[in-house]
């Protein structure tokens, strides 16, 4: 302000009245500055309540031996009761490498084949055929997502069931003479885990991709057709590049979804049939924390498994954010906060 007064003085004009100090303007200015936080506050409150506070609690719990037997007795919030034992236990666990391998396989295969792959195939096909047929197919593929998960997994057990009950055995494998009519969930548990999860997962990408493809201005596809491109070339060189962002988003989002999901596996195989055969990390966390073979839930130990999973998830998220350059999506606003 001082500089300004000097400058005015030089030019021989009286200093201008500056309204900064006036009350109501100061107030509205401050309101302008705080406005973004007002908009963000509901999210901030929810995130604090349901993400940050719980995360801090889980973090603390993971250093304790809190379980059902000492609940109310163990003063878990006191640092004297904290130790790294749970983590040592995890990393010396005999099955650690199997669980980790299962998790990686589960996420990678389901993601590639279904949540992105199949989703893209369905979206592309249903947007290039008769509209009504496309709608029918998408409805069909949406069914798994909106069916109660308990009933949905029951349905898959029926499909996989042993001859003569199981649908697949009865109508396909037995007539074709493949296999001995065994319970397929026991012989090929992973195939069904991919299918069960993939059929739910595919609809998420399907809807987003189909919507993105439909929102491509018709001029582009028409121009490409006029240039003599085949449908496949139009898809490859016009449509796919234009749905780049939804593709990247779905890939990222669904990786994290898969990493943290366990409901279907729990209801389908519960980690079996062999010892830890289909146990993934999030299911282990659930098992340790909430159910136990001894009827004794080990909250502290389960929390440690969770914390490691959070770390894996966050690292994955950060890698995706970097590699896919999601920051480009955030443009500078074209209105300033005064």
């Amino acid at each position: 302000m001082k500089r300004r007064t000097e400058k005015i003085g030089e030019r021989g004009k009286p200093p201008l009245p500056v309204l900064l100090g006036t009350r109501n303007i100061g107030f509205s200015r401050m309101r302008g500055q705080l406005a973004p936080y007002a908009f963000l506050s509901p999210t901030l409150i929810l995130v604090t309540l349901f993400f940050f506070i719980p995360l801090v609690m889980v973090f603390i719990l993971s250093f304790t031996k809190l379980d059902m037997t000492n609940f109310g007795i163990l003063e878990w919030w006191k640092p004297v009761n904290w130790s790294l034992d749970n983590y040592v236990k995890i990393f010396t666990n005999r099955f650690l490498s199997r669980i980790l391998g299962n998790t990686i396989m589960y996420v990678a295969v389901t993601l590639a084949l279904f949540n992105v792959g199949m989703a893209l195939v369905i979206a592309l096909i249903t947007t290039h055929i008769k509209r009504r047929t496309g709608f029918a197919f998408r409805t069909l593929w949406f069914l798994p997502r909106i069916t109660p998960v308990v009933v949905y997994t029951m349905m898959w057990r029926a499909l996989a069931g042993p001859a003569p009950m199981g649908v697949i055995n009865k109508y396909f494998l037995v007539p074709l003479g493949i296999g001995g009519g065994e319970y397929l969930l026991h012989t090929h548990p992973w195939v069904f885990i991919f299918l069960v999860n993939g059929f739910i997962g595919a609809s998420f990408g399907m809807i987003l991709f189909a919507s993105a493809i439909e929102s491509i201005p018709k001029d582009y596809t028409i121009a490409s057709k006029v240039d003599g491109a085949t449908t496949w070339q139009t898809i490859r060189y016009v449509e796919l590049p234009m749905i780049k962002w939804p593709l990247l988003f779905v890939t990222t989002y669904q990786t994290l979804s898969l990493l943290t999901s366990f409901e279907q596996i729990m209801l389908l195989t519960d980690g079996g049939p062999g010892l830890y055969q289909t146990e993934v990390w999030s299911l282990t966390a659930y098992h340790r924390a909430l159910t136990s073979y001894f009827g004794n839930t080990q909250w502290g130990y389960g929390a440690a498994w969770s914390v490691v999973l959070v770390i894996i998830g966050v690292v994955m998220a950060v890698i995706y954010l970097r590699v896919f350059k999601f920051r480009e999506l955030v443009e500078e606003p074209k209105i300033d906060q005064l």
Partner: protein
């Protein structure tokens, strides 16, 4: 309301959209901000409106610094190039929106909306939605909405550039008339020099965020300060020829490969004072190039292109490796390829220093730096 901009800067990262702009606009004045696209006109306007915060510098309305006032506290009406109507509201609701926000009573609101709409000739379109209006009608709704709150300042951002030529001409007149009737201060952004010339009492020409010149339309046309202004104002644009400056016993001469002309003594004297007197760029408007009989001519040139404009024809001539265009009364009876004698009106010639691109003839009432 008077407006004063003092050392106003707006930077977007490395881009200096507006670069130390000083500008004073009188109460009730109609000022045009003119310049090619991307030169910072819209940015300047949005700073006036309170949408952008200046990086530094001051904006004053009637001697009060308003840098910190929110848009709604500035009592401004603005018309956007895209019209920026609210698609989900009817014409009435669009125009009434500023009043609704001010909590004007229903009855008064209706009257004022009707009055503004009638003024713009859209009184019978009040219950349509923007999508059901033509471009010209949308433009009028936008104007009515800007006017309805009786603002102290009206801002226009290329309001006519989406209209067809005929409508543009008509709206040009209407806006000017309206502004005069209401005696409201207006800042009008345009890249169309004809619009600026016809509407504004003063024109501020900008390029790359820098104010080039600021003055009355005739002043800019007759005495452009810089090469940029000379080239930007006037249609068809001014001819530029690179020449060397020579002083002889009998006067001052400009010489190039193809021609040599004598210029006025006072022009020569000014050019001589300039730091680079050897080379000079001469500018001459097409209307100051005329076709003459051989003995009166300055030089000969070959007809290259004839473009009839109606009342006049624009003829492009070539000589050696240079080009010059002349406005001649229609119909031009020469043929392409024909060699014709041309004469330049030396009194109307402009001379620019090729290094600084500043006029060597400037009389001191233009740019200060």
């Amino acid at each position: 309301m008077k407006i004063a901009l003092e050392a106003l800067n707006k930077h977007f990262g490395k881009v200096k959209a507006v670069d130390s702009l000083d500008l004073e606009i009188g109460d009730g004045e109609f000022v045009a901000l003119l310049g090619p696209s991307g030169c910072g006109k819209t940015t300047t306007l949005l700073m006036l409106a309170g949408i952008y915060k200046p990086t530094s510098g001051h904006i004053c309305f009637d001697d009060r610094v308003v840098n910190h006032l929110l848009p709604k506290e500035r009592n401004i009406g603005m018309v956007f190039q895209s019209y920026a109507l609210y698609p989900h509201m009817t014409t009435f609701d669009n125009i009434a929106y500023p009043l609704k926000l001010k909590r004007v009573r229903r009855k008064e609101m209706k009257e004022r909306v009707q009055r503004s709409a009638d003024m713009m000739g859209i009184g019978d379109l009040l219950d349509r939605r923007p999508a059901q209006l033509s471009g010209g009608q949308q433009q009028r709704v936008a104007l009515a909405r800007a006017l309805v709150k009786e603002p102290a300042i009206l801002l226009f951002d290329e309001p006519l550039s989406n209209l067809d030529a005929k409508l543009r001409l008509r709206m040009r007149g209407e806006i000017k008339r309206l502004q005069e009737d209401l005696a409201v201060t207006a800042v009008y952004v345009t890249h169309d020099q004809v619009e600026a010339m016809t509407m504004a009492s003063r024109i501020a020409v900008m390029n790359y965020g820098v104010l080039q010149t600021y003055g009355a339309p005739n002043q800019l046309y007759d005495h452009p300060d810089t090469l940029f202004v000379a080239g930007f104002i006037g249609a068809p644009p001014m001819n530029f020829l690179e020449m060397t400056f020579k002083e002889r016993d009998d006067g001052f001469y400009l010489k190039s490969q193809a021609l040599e002309i004598r210029i006025l003594a006072e022009q020569g004297a000014l050019a001589k004072q300039d730091s680079i007197p050897q080379r000079v760029i001469m500018g001459i408007r097409p209307e100051n190039v005329s076709i003459v009989a051989e003995r009166d001519g300055d030089f000969k040139a070959e007809v290259y292109l004839i473009e009839p404009l109606g009342r006049e024809d624009l003829v492009t001539f070539r000589f050696v490796d240079e080009e010059i265009r002349a406005l001649v009364s229609a119909p031009f009876d020469g043929r392409i390829g024909e060699t014709i004698c041309l004469k330049l009106d030396k009194e109307k010639a402009h001379l620019f220093n090729p290094e600084t691109e500043v006029s060597v003839l400037r009389t001191g009432n233009g740019r200060s730096s």
